[in-house]
């Protein structure tokens, strides 16, 4: 990878880290408006991060190195994933490593690390949150694998750049049933993996209802900041995947200023649309009781299955 490549990837990383809190802020703002509240301003998450970085950490005496390492693993793995996702340009300099399954497992590495971090201090809430989180992760595995498989079947390769290029070249394929089903399956899995309603309420701290919040309950200060930032970045990753794998028009295929400007604008616009969509869904649908979550994930599994069979039969 040459200098331009390094610069591009670094720029993408910086942009991603900068956008992620904004996306979450937008979701929260739209939700508040829909609920007839004024709501915090869109840049509230940035302020939260600044606050947390300035605070001291309180660490439980029962915690081990796992507890201390987890936030860095989570942050690191999510950042690496973002570096592989075609956010503004395609193909990326790191495209050779941008394999769909590698992506999925990197994200899973983050989830795993966070779950361990929640278990480590031995608190009741942490253990409970970790076990719930791992159940959901395990159940959404088949669904996400099938959705990825259907995309790969359609493009003939699991490489993200390839998939995006194939869809750009063949616009009609975006309407195909395989794509639509894969999008639906991915959307449901995204809601599950990033802890959004109807699977998990990101704003709750009630024992009955929290999953992600339970795992991060013991964290404070900069570590908490890292974890929160990582989870927002994970949401942005999913949004970017949803937007740029299924509707990749606007991505810059060459490094021209005009192309990059268009790419920046379209990507931000797509992220905005998806954020509003998630906010609307979160407002309209009630949180599912925990034992109903497997049913929802089974639906996404069937959608994934339909996606694979549709992609397969159209070939």
């Amino acid at each position: 990878m040459d200098v331009t490549g390094i610069v591009c990837e670094a720029a993408q990383a910086v942009l991603g880290l900068a956008l992620a809190p904004g996306v979450v802020g937008l979701i929260r703002r739209v939700k508040a408006r829909l609920q007839n509240r004024r709501g915090a301003p869109v840049w509230q998450p940035y302020a939260e991060l600044r606050k947390l970085f300035g605070k001291d950490m309180v660490v439980s005496p029962n915690a081990s190195w796992v507890f201390r390492a987890a936030p860095f693993v989570v942050f690191g793995s999510t950042l690496v994933v973002y570096l592989l996702v075609p956010a503004f340009i395609t193909p990326l300099p790191l495209n050779a490593a941008a394999d769909l399954f590698a992506l999925v497992y990197l994200l899973l590495l983050g989830t795993f690390a966070l779950a361990l971090g929640g278990l480590d201090p031995g608190s009741a809430f942490g253990g409970m949150g970790s076990s719930r989180e791992m159940t959901i992760a395990a159940l959404s595995e088949p669904a996400i694998a099938l959705a990825m498989l259907s995309l790969a079947l359609g493009a003939g390769s699991t490489n993200l750049g390839e998939i995006a290029a194939r869809t750009i070249a063949n616009p009609l394929a975006a309407l195909s049933a395989g794509h639509v089903f894969a999008f639906a399956a991915l959307f449901i899995v995204m809601l599950a993996e990033t802890g959004r309603l109807p699977v998990d309420n990101p704003a709750t701290h009630l024992e009955l209802t929290m999953i992600h919040e339970a795992m991060t309950l013991e964290y404070s200060g900069p570590c908490l900041a890292l974890i929160e930032w990582a989870s927002w970045l994970k949401l942005t990753v999913f949004f970017t995947l949803a937007a740029n794998l299924f509707l990749p028009w606007g991505l810059a295929t060459s490094l021209t200023p005009a192309g990059l400007a268009i790419a920046a604008v379209t990507t931000v616009a797509k992220l905005g649309v998806l954020a509003v969509a998630v906010a609307v869904i979160e407002t309209r649908i009630a949180k599912l009781r925990l034992f109903r979550v497997p049913e929802l994930l089974a639906v996404s599994f069937v959608l994934g299955l339909l996606a694979v069979t549709s992609s397969f039969s159209v070939r």
Binding site: S176, A177, A298, L306
Partner: protein, 218 residues
């Protein structure tokens, strides 16, 4: 044009199939009626699309009839029936939700295998969607067999009829108009008879749980 036709037909058929899966997922009778209404409307839209792309004017009438009968009239009657006889939630079905959904997925795979001779035979642009119609047929049969409330079984049967109508539209651009009219008439009458019987069951047994219909054994 053919490509667009193919994509539209597969998309439409998938939409129709999705609502059957929704019936397996949701738990309330009103949700089932809603899903059926949406399914019939999507099917009617697909029929109209096939009429447009396939240059068959008769199908426009069929689509209109479908909207009127299955999109409006039958859901209305079902809603009235449900308000009178059903509690709002389906009792725990014979097969639990997650298993039903996985089984439905497997049934759809089976349908793709079973529909292979049809795919090879047909040269119509709509042929890619035919396995989905057969899948809907299997899933509707599964809904009928695995549900406990009589009214849900009726909805499963109505979906079975939708499946066969979908198959007819996709495979042969519909059957002759005379036959379509006969089929609609039969469907309407069959539904009315079933409705009468659900009222009967409710009046005689004070429940519409078909588990209670167990006096006649062997």
């Amino acid at each position: 044009m053919d490509d667009v036709f193919a994509q539209v037909s597969v998309l439409g058929a998938s939409g129709v199939l999705i609502f059957a899966i929704v019936v397996l997922w949701r738990h309330g009778v009103m949700a089932y009626i809603s899903a059926f209404r949406w399914q019939s409307n999507v099917l009617a839209a697909l029929t109209a699309a096939v009429a447009y792309f396939g240059h068959d004017r008769d199908l426009y009438w069929v689509a209109a009839l479908m909207v009127v009968v299955k999109g409006v009239a039958i859901p209305r009657l079902l809603t009235r029936l449900a308000r009178r006889v059903a509690t709002s939630r389906e009792a725990e079905p014979f097969v639990n939700t997650a298993t039903s959904l996985v089984l439905a997925g497997l049934l759809i795979l089976l349908a793709h295998a079973a529909a292979r001779p049809l795919l090879e035979m047909s040269s119509a642009p709509t042929r890619a969607a035919i396995p989905l119609a057969i899948g809907l047929l299997f899933v509707s049969l599964f809904v009928i067999v695995s549900r406990k409330k009589a009214i849900t079984q009726v909805i499963g049967f109505l979906m079975l009829e939708n499946a066969i109508a979908l198959l007819a539209v996709l495979a042969t651009y519909g059957v002759p108009l005379v036959v379509e009219l006969g089929v609609f008439l039969d469907a309407m009458m069959g539904f009315l008879v079933m409705q009468i019987f659900v009222y009967d069951i409710h009046d005689t047994f004070d429940t519409v749980d078909v588990d209670a219909l167990n006096r006649l054994k062997h």
